[in-house]
Chain length 157, copies 2
């Protein structure tokens, strides 16, 4: 399945988002390619698994081509074995705010201390609520792409 | 679907193989990663399309991990757009010889003049017939990996 992914990304200033979280899922992922023009991601997400290809973002970084297919967890484990060094682990929280749901990623291991919130939009100029725990916008900042966090983790910054 | 691919690869000395070919299919393919440890290939093959991940070969180069999933031709065309420069085109012939079928690839464009035959085996020491048109063995020679031919084509050698 392919689509244009329209989303904005923010840093998170506090753990206050956890009060409103309706779901949290463990994610383990590796990259078969971390090149920003053609990232290839293998992801174990709870009991499911996915292979995802993303292109580079547009000028604002808000919109990226994304193609995804579901795979089995055992396929994912074998493919993660082939991945570049730098496997990412994080917990993803679903936090409803107004009419939207923020996906908040609390990174573990080499990226511990980094918390990032993403909101997916239907179009680039869609209005959305910003909760108090939301910090600086980092949409389109390649440094915060998960593919780049796997090579140059937060603990190195 | 994943498996260990056991195959041997040879150069082809003449066009004599075409007499015995039972099928030929046009293949167009690009790579989302050409790194030999984790090649990610997008292939249009006749009217079908596939996404394939391969690992590095064992010491002899005979055995490689391979994972493949079928995708739609339109997904393939969009993914080929994201690929590294160096799209490969070739015609694949199926040539039955004894109990096996050689897959003979006649490369086009930047790799015109190169013809390579592959035979897939059930185990590494399996016996197979070698027809007269078969030339030097190049199993495990990374230069002949399709991923490498896309970056450093035959016409540059």
């Amino acid at each position: 399945m392919e689509h244009l992914e329209i989303e904005r990304k923010f840093l998170v200033k506090s753990n206050a988002f956890k009060v409103d979280s309706t779901l949290d899922i463990k994610i383990i992922q590796g990259f078969l390619n971390t090149h920003p023009e053609r990232t290839v991601r293998v992801r174990l997400k709870g009991e499911e698994a996915f292979l995802t290809v993303k292109g580079i973002g547009n000028d604002s970084g808000t919109t990226r081509f994304e193609w995804e297919t579901q795979i089995t967890p055992s396929e994912a484990i074998n493919l993660i074995d082939l991945c570049e060094p730098g496997i990412l682990e994080k917990v993803r929280y679903h936090v409803p705010v107004g009419k939207h749901v923020y996906e908040v990623d609390e990174f573990l291991r080499e990226n511990k201390g980094l918390i990032v919130a993403e909101i997916e939009l239907q179009h680039e100029d869609e209005v959305f609520e910003k909760p108090d725990w939301l910090g600086k916008e980092v949409t389109g900042d390649v440094k915060y792409y998960n593919s780049q966090l796997s090579k140059n983790p937060y603990s190195n910054w």
